[in-house]
Symmetry: C2
Subunit: 413 residues, 2 copies
């Protein structure tokens, strides 16, 4: 009798993580019909559902429901922040053996890839027959090996559209506006703000990423220059900006929120709080105010506002990149295909993408070892960061097909 398959979702939600889920279900249903797979199970809240024997039957779901699930943001199976240690993994195996599970599909980011890797290695060491496939997803776009990550394009579209609207807002009522964007260790999502620009002087005018040292003095000087030229300034700031790019301990947000929560991965909670935006807003009011006063002899009345995009950017319904939705679904399907055929001998691995052409945009999918994806973060290349406060044309060329087209704003002046 063919073994059963279980699917889990892990980590922060995205707009298309359920596309991947539906892709896995679709391909498993076909495999099931061909007698290659037994039951199709969904683990509620990832590995937590596996150890708690908390499964959903995913066989015979209607096409209508599956399509609605695919279009719903966030993880339909429920997610988890748990990171299994050895004892946790033993419980996973017990559950797998008990439920005759031979194929495990885990949709998630690099922490989830690491969970998949540990699970696969422990299964191998324990002599348990188990193929583990990781399906990449993260709005952070920080997985190694793959050209980009499902989830990034749609979150990038939200960030780009938000900045386009905010730029129109700021033209209408000029001032200085800061937008804080997710991405603890990598600036990819913040960089997508640049895709809002259609014409010269469109915002964002300044972009700050975790990959370069953040200096409050340079920040104030940058804002002073843009504000002096345009009478307004839109600034995109990653929640992960830090005083020293290679030093996690120098995060601005940590300095501001010392005492905040730390999760199971040792990460401090940065989102779900407006603290960084409020800190930078006050910094500009104070320091830039003094700079201008020193130069002109007059204390300026600066209109400075800060927004934190928070959870909106990762799970806003209807704001989905077309290529992202397609690729997320396809990554799910490929995971099943790779898991059952073990190409390149990889019966466990992760699905990755390789760009074969920029124009027209074309992608190939391929299997890669879990160790090529797990743990480490893929940063924005420093050569794509300009002057420490902007991104390059090479980044735009890379990101545009992932995010898709943005409207051309109508302007009267």
């Amino acid at each position: 009798m063919a073994g059963n398959a279980v699917i889990g979702q892990s980590g922060g939600p995205t707009a298309v993580i359920n596309q991947s889920l539906v892709g896995v279900i679709e391909a498993l249903s076909a495999a099931q019909k061909a007698g290659k797979i037994g039951k199709i199970l969904g683990a509620k809240h990832g590995v937590r559902g596996i150890v708690n024997n908390d499964f959903l039957a995913l066989d015979n779901l209607s096409k209508d429901l599956l399509e609605r699930v695919a279009q719903t943001p966030s993880s339909a199976l429920g997610s988890t922040r748990d990171k299994p240690d050895e004892a946790y993994c033993l419980k996973i195996f017990e559950s797998f053996k008990k439920n005759n599970i031979t194929n495990f599909f885990y949709i998630g980011g690099n922490d989830s890839a690491d969970t998949a890797r540990i699970t696969a290695e422990m299964a191998k060491a324990a002599g348990v027959a188990l193929n583990v496939y990781h399906v990449p997803k993260t709005i952070d776009n920080d997985l190694r090996t793959t050209d980009h990550c499902p989830g990034y394009g749609s979150a990038g579209k939200f960030v780009a559209l938000a900045h386009q609207g905010d730029d129109a807002d700021n033209r209408s009522l000029p001032g200085i506006k800061i937008n804080c964007i997710m991405g603890r260790d990598a600036g990819w999502l913040t960089a997508a703000a640049a895709l809002a620009r259609v014409e010269e002087n469109d915002g964002p005018h300044l972009i700050y990423l975790p990959e370069v040292d953040f200096s409050e003095e340079r920040f104030i000087a940058d804002v002073d220059r843009v504000f002096g030229k345009l009478g307004r300034c839109i600034i995109a700031v990653s929640e992960g900006v830090r005083y020293k790019a290679d030093d996690k301990k120098s995060l601005l947000a940590e300095k501001i929120m010392s005492g905040g929560e730390v999760d199971a991965h040792g990460n401090r909670q940065l989102s779900g709080s407006g603290a960084l935006a409020d800190y930078l807003t006050n910094l500009i009011k104070e320091k830039l105010g003094k700079v201008i006063e020193g130069r002109t002899g007059k204390a300026p009345k600066l209109r400075v506002r800060g927004d934190t995009f928070g959870y909106l950017q990762r799970s806003f319904p209807t704001i989905v990149s077309e290529s992202d939705a397609f690729e997320a679904r396809e990554c799910g399907r490929r995971a099943v295909q790779y898991s059952l055929t073990a190409p390149e001998g990889l019966s466990s691995g992760s699905v990755a993408m390789k760009r074969t052409s920029d124009s027209p945009y074309k992608i190939d999918f391929f299997p890669t070892a879990l160790s090529n994806v797990a743990r480490q973060t893929k940063h924005m290349p420093v050569e794509w960061i300009v002057n420490g406060n902007d991104v390059s044309a090479a980044y735009i060329k890379y990101a545009k097909p992932l995010v898709g087209p943005v409207p051309k704003p109508g302007k009267l002046f």
Copy 2:
């Protein structure tokens, strides 16, 4: 020779304020062709452009540009927060006389209606021939006389979709989530969060509006009850919640942000800061933590997050309600029609809407005196607020056709 017409936009942006602008331009172009109007001018940044003689020529704009402007959020002419006093108004008249302006169209909220009213009255007293028409717009939906305001439906759609996504997010990674929504004095926009719900137990689970007294004790008890039942809780809170509903001085946000900015209308800046969300987040962590500890003897680890929707909710491209876009355009057209034909003797006035049928949804447009719209705020009827923490079916019936359909989320459990 026919006099010239000038159009201005004022106050906070909306997703459809440029639909109204294009509606005015379209109708004025037709009137111009019929010889009823001379030049069509746009005042840059509202009354400020008028007194500074800072006009744009709006004759002969291409249909393509006008349609792109109509679909671009925020005020394409630029906006202002200026509120003219007597001296300011005299400068407006001088500009009008100098530029042979006989028709003034002002697109804005109740502060803008008041500016229009003052301007019209001063023109009358000064014997200056001038028809002033106000075109309603505000995401706050707080203008009197009209059934609802252009701009509300689209902002409501953003708020409803955001909550739908956030509810999926919160199901996936359960916790307590607070969303702070614009609306200084009226709860209309916050109430729109309720339109996110499709099935039982969908969030938001609690909704707090400025129209009822806010009690921190009741708030904590409400969250305790929902969290105890569902293991999660989504809360929509207006930025304008206050300890006493009829007392502006008891705003929570003011208590938290005392020392913040006050604008020309005497309003304290509430948006563009995450302070209220952060305050309520900490309140729940502390007080609810103690309540649960007192009952169970164990200090719970509560996952509480707060997002502030900020400027995103008022100018996000592509998130537009269809009926809202149509009505905003039509209000602009009607303003020109009313201004030129002076129905009911109202050569100056405001455009209002009357609902003639709920199902199918139908609206009639009519002219009303500026004094019927200016200054005072239209609050949510208290009978539409349930238990101080939710809205009624009557509100849903009222708001649904304004916001339009929301997706039906696909759920697996």
